[in-house]
Amino acid sequence: MASTSDLRKNLKILVDNEPYVIVEAQFVKPGKGTAFTKCKIKNLITGSVLERTWRSGESVDLADTENRRMEYLYAEGDHFVFMDQETYDQVHIEKEILGDDAQWLIDNLPVEVLFFNGRPVGVELPTFVELQITHCEPGVRGDTATGASKPATLSTGAVVQVPLFVNEGEWLKIDTRTGEYVERVKK
């Protein structure tokens, strides 16, 4: 339980039995009256954002959440298997939970797994991953004109748009939030 004076950015709370993180908290106290805290809260599982207002003195339940550092091991049926980097426990996580993010999974990729009431509910990838191009059309030397791009298939099967000068076999840095090419990396 928390009181309304504890409501601040990044606090994880329980609303309608789902875990939320406070994105924005605003103190309001209109007309010499009761104080309120108006919050923007983000659902930790679905990512949807709501507005909620609490009256001063009301209590708010804290969400039992925990972030654990894990690394990706392998896929098994409908699940991905991750290993806790501290305890070496292995955890099966439904593929659904990762959604499109699954296309960036490579062996030993470090991730943060969000547990809610002891169950894994979310997997956060590092912002950038480095992947090798397994197939793309040959590059055009010296063509660095902006705008022009071509598709490239990566070792995980993901397809991204890359500039024309990029070649098969090269390693790329990808932004996992947008799925966009960032730059070439030397390996």
Binding site: F27, K29, P30, G31, K32, G33, F36
Partner: protein
């Protein structure tokens, strides 16, 4: 270079070149006050570099935290120092306005024996008394003493109120117009805003007055669909389409207010919310023609609560009765009991001329005109910067 703002020296004026730790850059412009060799701050706009300054000679080339705090540009490219200079201009105009109208400027103590007994007020104890949350009591004692109309620009303190629009220590502009009605005072607020807006260049002027006067009941009807403001707490919530929750009428009132009204108040044009429920009269008299509502008003602009005003209650017995009721509520809620200000009550009993008064959050007015998202942007120091 990632930083958009860094110190550099003007090495040549034609062509304009500046040099800093990272090398030499060609300038698109520099402050006219600068001479070759002066240090300034490099600012980048797109591909172009500008040098602003000069930085004082005593300042080290790579300024420390204090210098950066005042010189870091906001999203509109303006610095905290710009905001402080802007604030100074505003405060000067405000004084000019009241002085020209024959008001006497007064200064009352900030450390007081009684902070008042309002239910939702948390006073900050100081030296056996409290830091003043409002200069109201002392100013009314002056009025009873026969000062005539007075104004004051002073610090006020309210513990626990902190956020983008609140700082526990803030600046209040409070004035009392002897013989004026609350409507006279609303007109005077419009005049004040118009006076400053006509004379100063403001980044975000308010829409020019006159502004709407909206009785509270009408505001509830317009934005919350509440037709009967006197209904029970549960019914108020229901009328406003909010989920039922266990609360008092006053809590329900403010819940609807915060959820439905506040996001709309002063959205396009500032608005005076008038005729507050009698139970929220505070230090206002009841309306002579309708005692179910109080002669209290608030000015909202851009969803910001800017000012609170009263046709002042001058009946000492009624004031005492209200204060005792407030104290009782505080007790029931387990809040600390504050002493009554007996000398203020004596002053009312002695006789205070008919008067209307208003308290305006000066920081907030500056915020609106400056286009600040956070009150700290218009303060020399916010509380967490001390």
């Amino acid at each position: 270079m990632k930083e958009k703002f860094r110190p550099a020296r003007l090495v040549r004026t034609s062509p304009a070149l500046a040099q800093d730790a990272a090398g030499t850059v060609q300038l698109a412009g520099f402050s006219t006050a600068m001479r070759e060799g002066d240090w300034g701050m490099l600012r980048r706009e797109g591909e172009a570099w500008f040098l602003e300054g000069p930085i004082q000679a005593t300042c080290r080339p790579f300024p420390g935290a204090e210098w950066s705090r005042l010189h870091r540009p906001d999203r509109l490219g303006r610095t905290r120092l710009d905001a402080l200079r802007f604030r100074h201009r505003i405060v000067r105009r405000v004084r000019e306005f009241f002085d020209a109208r024959g008001y006497l400027e007064v200064e009352t103590p900030l450390q007081v024996p009684s902070p008042g007994v309002e239910t939702h007020l948390q006073a900050i104890p100081a030296g056996g008394g409290y830091l003043s949350p409002s200069p109201e009591f002392q100013m009314k004692r002056l009025l009873a003493g026969g000062t005539g109309s007075i104004y004051q620009i002073c610090r006020s303190f309210r513990g626990d109120e902190c956020g983008p629009r609140h700082n526990p220590e803030f600046t209040m502009l409070e004035w009392y117009a002897v013989g004026a009605s609350s409507e006279d005072l609303r007109r005077e607020m419009e005049d004040l805003v118009a006076y400053v807006q006509e004379r100063e260049e403001l980044p975000f002027p308010l829409p020019p007055p006159p502004w709407e006067r909206l009785p509270m009941a009408a505001a509830f009807a317009r934005w919350a669909g509440v037709e009967d403001l006197d209904a029970s707490a549960a019914d108020l919530l229901r009328q406003a389409g909010l989920a039922p929750r266990e609360m008092t009428w006053e809590e329900a009132f403010f819940t609807v207010f915060v959820e439905k009204l506040e996001p709309r108040l002063g959205e396009e044009k500032p608005v005076f919310l008038t005729e507050w429920p009698a139970s929220m009269a505070s230090l206002a008299r009841l309306m002579p023609e309708n005692p179910t509502v109080a002669d209290r008003f608030e000015l909202y602009a851009g969803r910001l609560e800017l000012a609170n005003g009263f046709g002042e209650l001058l009946d000492a017995d009624l004031q005492r009765a209200r204060s005792l009721a407030d104290l009782e509520t505080r007790q029931r809620l387990g809040l600390p009991a504050y002493p009554l200000d007996e000398r203020f009550l004596d002053a009312l009993a002695e006789g205070c001329p008919p008067v209307s008064g208003v308290a305006l959050g000066l920081d907030r007015l500056v915020m609106l005109w400056w286009g600040a998202d956070h009150i700290r942007q218009v303060l020399a120091f916010a509380q967490d910067e001390l």
